[in-house]
């Protein structure tokens, strides 16, 4: 999705106050943006704390400020700067983190971001956009540019199956009809699940929904999904994020406070590094039960 975000950001160039900062990252992805923006494309170097505070200062002066880095360096290293300098001021600084979840695979856990939106959404005013497909990136960027709040964009690798056309971008989308249990998925890993489920009998496959805008709040959840949950009294949530602060927590809280109870609540989430060994994104998903066979098993479906 790096190329998609580069193209999307280039559409903002006409905005007279647009300024972009990168923490020395974007090789073989952001060069077109750099060429277009000139002095307003700023490589802030390997100094993420400074980069975020500078972004806050730029925003204080009215600049439309976007910041880019690998996801953990974007939110974890400068967390206090995001908290104090961006969010306490409600400055509309936009954070772009590449490689959400286990996206950087065998680069190791320093490069993973499995607690990013949970941590960021504890901060005042923060919203998070989690594109599921590369085609989501442009509308997500345009929405982020339009809101006057801090925002975080979590990028991953598009896994959209061939011959599948996602529905138009929206905070919630019905991605696949099925007679099985309702499933809510966040992030690009939905692509692998869709690829398998598309080959299954409609009567048994799960009914898949995607959520791209966080936090989850009651008014944003589609009535059709709520009705389905109320009828089946069961739900599965899938996300490449740790348990705490994740979509599972948010959704469970929202349902309970809305008076909707379920008898069965499955939650597949990032479990960290249970074997203390490391590998590809797929390896870490398997270790967390986030690979498609494990998810189908969790849902009680034989592939």
């Amino acid at each position: 999705m790096r190329n998609a975000v580069c193209q999307a950001l280039m559409t903002l160039f006409a905005h007279q106050h647009f300024v972009f900062l990168t923490g020395d990252l974007g090789f073989q992805a952001l060069e077109p943006l750099r060429a277009l923006m000139g002095e307003r494309f700023i490589n802030a170097g390997v100094a993420e704390q400074n980069m975020i505070s500078v972004a806050a200062g730029l925003a204080q002066q009215g600049m439309m400020t976007w910041v880019y880095s690998i996801a953990p360096f974007c939110y974890a290293r400068p967390f206090e700067q995001i908290r104090n300098d961006v969010c306490l001021h409600r400055f509309p600084v936009k954070l772009v983190g590449n490689g959400g979840g286990y996206g950087y695979g065998a680069m190791g856990p320093s490069h993973h971001a499995i607690e990013d939106y949970g941590a960021l959404l504890t901060l005042p005013g923060m919203q998070a956009w989690i594109p599921m497909f590369a085609t989501d990136v442009l509308p997500a960027v345009l929405q982020m540019a339009a809101v006057n709040t801090p925002a975080y964009l979590r990028l991953g690798r598009c896994e959209c199956p061939n011959h599948y056309t996602p529905p138009p971008f929206a905070p919630w989308r019905h991605l696949l009809s099925g007679g099985g249990l309702p499933v809510v998925v966040t992030g690009p890993l939905v692509g692998s699940l869709l690829a398998t489920c598309l080959t299954m009998d409609v009567a048994v496959r799960p009914d898949i929904w995607g959520v791209t805008l966080l936090p989850v709040t009651a008014p944003t959840i589609p009535q059709a999904l709520l009705a389905q949950i109320g009828q089946q009294r069961r739900l599965c949530v899938v996300e490449e994020h740790v348990l705490h602060g994740g979509v599972g927590h948010m959704l469970a809280h929202t349902l309970l406070t809305s008076g909707i109870a379920v008898d069965t609540f499955h939650h597949a989430y990032a479990r960290g590094y249970p074997s203390a060994t490391y590998g590809s994104q797929q390896f870490h998903r398997r270790e967390s039960g986030l690979d498609t066979p494990a998810l189908l098993q969790l849902m009680g479906i034989s592939p």
Binding site: H17, V19, E39, R40, I42, A44, G45, A47, Q49, N50, S53, V54, A55, A56, G57, L58, A59, Q60, Q61, G62, M63, E80, Q81, N84, D85, L88, H89, R90
Partner: protein, 272 residues
């Protein structure tokens, strides 16, 4: 700032400083709040900047947020905060918190208090003015102990690289920090050459000599297109004998006896 800077006159400035110091000590005493020493060390600097240096488009960023009392008092001397507001200092429901909070007063552009944040935000403001070719200078006041924060050094690299010549960094070098002297805690005695090694032009001036500070700040940029740094040699607890150069003036509030003595010292100085 809507008004133009006033002509500097030493006697009038001394009177202003005395009045401000008295009001500062009264505010801290009646609120039973400490952090007095680090306010007194930079009170003259803030008064000088706001009364005699800063112009309409200039911005002041207080990175040593624990000296916010001196900034509230400076704004009081300008008639921009009234006595009623000062009585709410640290009280429930106040906007005059113990460290600056955001977006309630135009002269307090950013909230600080966690050290090492004000300078990089000031740099962002300076960069915005540069990118948009807008007028105005940025003055950022840091403490000396604050230079133990890595973010400040990140910021200095950035500011120098981008040649932000409209940024002036003032370092209140009173030699004390939270739990000891800066020399004891982190060997900060040679801070000026360390800062100069990063590229900016660094000069040292007596931070209790307003005329010398005014002269230095008013100098046009000379041999260096980047930011400049003024090391202000100051005394923690300046002007109150029993508070000067003492660690406990960093935290402790005045008791009644101390407050009375401080008032007597200020009165005798005014009389002389």
């Amino acid at each position: 700032m809507e008004r133009s800077p006033l002509e500097f006159e030493p006697g009038a400035f001394a009177d202003l400083h005395q009045r401000a110091a008295r009001r500062l000590l009264n505010m801290h005493y009646h609120s039973r709040i400490g952090h007095i020493g680090g306010n007194l060390s930079c009170l003259q600097t803030m008064l000088l900047l706001h009364h005699h240096i800063m112009e309409k488009d200039d911005v002041f960023v207080l990175s040593k947020g624990h000296a916010i009392g001196a900034l509230y008092i400076t704004l009081w001397t300008l008639g921009e905060i009234d006595d009623a507001a000062l009585t709410t200092f640290h009280a429930d429901g106040t906007r005059l918190a113990g460290h600056p909070v955001a977006q309630w007063h135009p002269r307090i552009p950013v909230a600080t208090g966690s050290l090492g944040h004000g300078l990089p935000m000031a740099i962002g403001m300076t960069l915005a003015k540069k990118l948009r070719c807008e007028p105005g200078r940025i003055f950022c006041l840091t403490s000396d102990g604050e230079w133990q924060e890595g973010s400040n050094w990140e910021a200095l690299i950035f500011a120098n690289h981008h040649q932000l010549e409209r940024l002036t960094i003032l370092v209140d070098q009173n030699g004390w920090q939270g739990f000891g002297s800066t020399s004891e805690v982190a060997s900060m005695a040679n801070l000026a050459p360390r800062l100069a090694a990063f590229g900016p032009r660094v000069t040292t001036v007596n931070g209790h000599d307003p005329q010398a500070m005014l002269q230095e700040i008013s100098l046009p940029p000379q041999d260096n297109p980047g930011p400049r740094i003024l090391m202000l040699e100051t005394i923690k607890g300046y002007g109150i004998s029993f508070m000067e150069n003492r660690l406990d003036s960093h935290y402790l509030p005045l008791d009644q006896a101390g407050w009375k003595q401080a008032m007597r010292e200020l009165a005798s100085r005014e009389a002389s």
